[in-house]
Amino acid sequence: MGERTVIPFGPQHPVLLEPLHLDLVIEDEKVVKAMPSWGFVHRGLEKLAEKRDFIEFPFVAERICGVCSHSHGMAYTQAIEALMSLEIPVRAKYLRTILAEFSRINSHLLWLGLLANALGFESLFMHCWKLREKILDIVEETTGGRVIFGACRVGGVNRDIDAPTLARMSRLFTGMEKGFREIDGVFRKDYTVQKRLQETGALSRADAHLLGAVGPVAKGSGIPCDMRRLGYSVYNELDFQAVVETEGDSYARTSVRIKEIFQSVGLIQQAIAKIPAGEVSMKITGLPPVGEHFEMVEQPRGEAVYYVKGNGTRFLERFRVRNSTFANIPALLKILEGCELSDVPMLILSIDPCISCAER
């Protein structure tokens, strides 16, 4: 038994790009206990909903996070539309779904790059981000924003995407699939990567359930927790199965995300094939009524819960976001216990933390 040392990890650390602080109690290089603390980027965006018109608020909601921004915008607008009992044009729903899947591919490629970086595999990191660039380019071309798409508005989307562009979006993947397969081969077959990922950070199905894990963390432990199965937007018209792995280790979580990239490609192609013609937005009349609504969406990082409470005015009475990172922190603490110090960044990343989402 070695001497116990406390290593302060974060909130500013070259590997951990998120402002999360962990006090790691280590014994030699074994982590005995991890104690999280945060609160460095709390911006009070929930409170801001009381000061911003509900029609303007999607801009703020999208800026809760820089990676899954589109799903935040989508969740907010869906929540408001449900609260106001609006039925938005079907084409708008399809466009939102297509962009949501683009944002998922973007997020997963970004995450894979960061994982490679945490493993000290720089060329793989750069290659993932090189692939991601193509996704961002087409999103910028169609929505006007690379990171914050700005597509979702209450009642629809901001601009239509014409048929030739949609066809090009679908065709984009015929060229990109080879790239995806290449990185899939590296992440899942490379000896050094495998050596690091396999059997590290195992989370059993029971633990994942008890600790309320969501998204790829839960899916990696064998729980098919995928909010898209609720069929919001047009997911009920698309054919897909939740990706599930049973091992529960970092390798399983990586596999889930890689498979989800391929799944998203399929979903985008299905949606583009099915998209009907028509309007993409509707005029909003009236105000959010007195009432409340819960909206669950599957963000790239996992399930997000939106709660809106209207009071009959332009401003919401209460707006609440619970994103996936918040729900996955207890699972993170569980997998950090007993791990090696060298695995800490990789394990923290394996839940794909986004602290600015979690703190809002």
Partner: protein, 282 residues
């Protein structure tokens, strides 16, 4: 007189060569990663900038340890080019490393501590293989003197292929390349930040960097020694080795210290000892 000139030439030219190598390393690495990369002379700009920085020493003794590190690295290189005893050269380099580790231990920073511990593990990992190299060279040339080994008319690689490959294996860690860049990585994207170098800054860090340039030149000189009978073959081998290390760096993730230790010893036992055993029986 000739020896003195050689030593002076080494002291002057080695950092230039080492710096250029570092630049080339970064450039080649960038190309492999589809990036443009920094200018070739960037390492020199970096060091010049580090010298101009405000000097903040966390602990006073740090400075002397770093100075000792630099001096002993230069000394080991100088002994090498002067054609002295190979074992002396190897132990002088080990001593230099010990000073770096002491420097890392002299501050109370957990990152620095863990880095120093890992540096010790890395020393344990590569030292057997380096000593086997010296023994192998002795068994072929019947001398530990670098001058005699260099003057040996036969190509050492022909008789020591296992040892050569084993040396390349541990060199990955010594040149701070993935998968064995445990204690300190050039990219600082590591769980222990800069590892042993976490608490060095300004002029001290610049000195460490220069020491690494000397050390890399010396290590590649060791590679060259295998091909000393044919100079251009030696230069080719050095270039190939260098490219191979950059290539491996861009092709693997960082591994754990347990794996580094085990695999280095296995490499030393199988490739190194195997080669020695073969040498005894032929």
């Amino acid at each position: 007189m000739k020896t003195v000139l050689t030593i002076v030439l080494f002291i002057v030219a080695a950092p230039l060569a080492g710096g250029l190598m570092a630049g080339l390393d970064r450039k080649a690495g960038a190309w492999m990663q589809s990036r443009v990369g920094p200018p070739l002379l960037q390492p020199f700009y970096d060091v010049a900038k580090l010298f101009s920085k405000q000097n903040i020493a966390v602990h006073k003794s740090q400075k002397y340890y770093v100075l000792c590190f630099l001096v002993f690295v230069i000394l080991s290189g100088a002994l090498f080019v002067a054609g002295q005893d190979l074992l002396l050269v190897i132990f002088a380099l080990t001593l230099a490393d010990v000073f770096l580790i002491l420097g890392a231990y002299s501050v109370r920073s957990p990152y620095s501590y863990v880095g120093a511990e890992r540096e010790l593990v890395q020393m344990m990992a590569y030292e057997p293989m380096v000593i086997i190299t010296a023994i192998g060279m002795y068994m072929v040339t019947k001398s530990f003197s670098v001058a005699d080994i260099a003057a040996f008319e036969q190509n050492l690689f022909v008789k020591l292929p296992g040892i050569f490959i084993g040396l390349l294996f541990v060199l990955t860690g010594k040149l701070r390349k993935s998968p064995f860049d445990l204690s300190m990585s050039h990219h600082a994207h590591q769980e222990i930040v800069g590892g042993v170098l976490t608490e060095f800054s300004g002029a001290e860090l610049a000195m460490v960097k220069i020491a690494y340039w000397y050390q890399n030149v010396f290590l590649l000189g060791l590679v060259c020694l295998f091909f000393a009978s044919a100079f251009w073959l030696g230069v080719g081998a050095v270039m190939l080795t260098f490219f191979l290390e950059v290539f491996i760096d861009n092709n693997s993730a960082r591994l754990t210290w347990q794996f580094t230790l085990a695999s280095s010893w296995i490499a030393a036992a199988v490739l190194g000892m195997g080669n020695l055993v073969v040498l005894i029986f032929i």
